[in-house]
Symmetry: C2
Amino acid sequence: MTLKTVRMALLFDFYGQLLTPRQQEFFALYYGDDLSLGEIAEHYGVSRQAVYDILRRSESALEAYDGKLRLVERELAQHRLLAEIESDLQKVIEMVQAGADAPAIVDLLSQTRRKLATASKVDEGRRDDV
Amino acid sequence: MTLKTVRMALLFDFYGQLLTPRQQEFFALYYGDDLSLGEIAEHYGVSRQAVYDILRRSESALEAYDGKLRLVERELAQHRLLAEIESDLQKVIEMVQAGADAPAIVDLLSQTRRKLATASKVDEGRRDDV
């Protein structure tokens, strides 16, 4: 997968439902099932150019939605935070199993709780507008 | 705040950027600043009915976006999970401070990690489509 394909898959995951049914179909065939423009054109009995235009318009629409709602960026930030919390918990388990001192364990757990509070806030970031 | 106001604030947080500038203005004044229809109408030199219509159309548009993207539902589910994980961590801290047995602590931490994995999955739920 190229970087563009990955980005388009992400955008489609978030905003695909806002495209027209035809846009969704072409998009899924091209980016999901890896069909060529020519194959999609033949299957639908339209020109290769028509398929190309619909795909370009779909990409622009998805980018425009993300320019406004920024869900991809927020998801990646959230994902990074949850991965960090997961790694903290793994470390706490190892400390407990190794019989580490209670204050050291509690200290790490307190840091983890603060990260968790940040994760809840990422969720609520857009709440500031109203 | 009425339940409807809370819901509208949530929807606006998620999808407000997709409304027209005028819709966003009226919406923020009515639901955010608690101005009356009459006050908004007077301020903008339009009829009370016009303000009413724009607000109703904005509400429908926001509900339509959420009907397709379901961000509110997903956010609430995510929020519940993070709150549960937070409460687990609090409990682990208490267990560690009370000198509980390592296996009991590790057991709870393992459950918490599984919940965390679910939280990451909620984030990626929409990834299944492509």
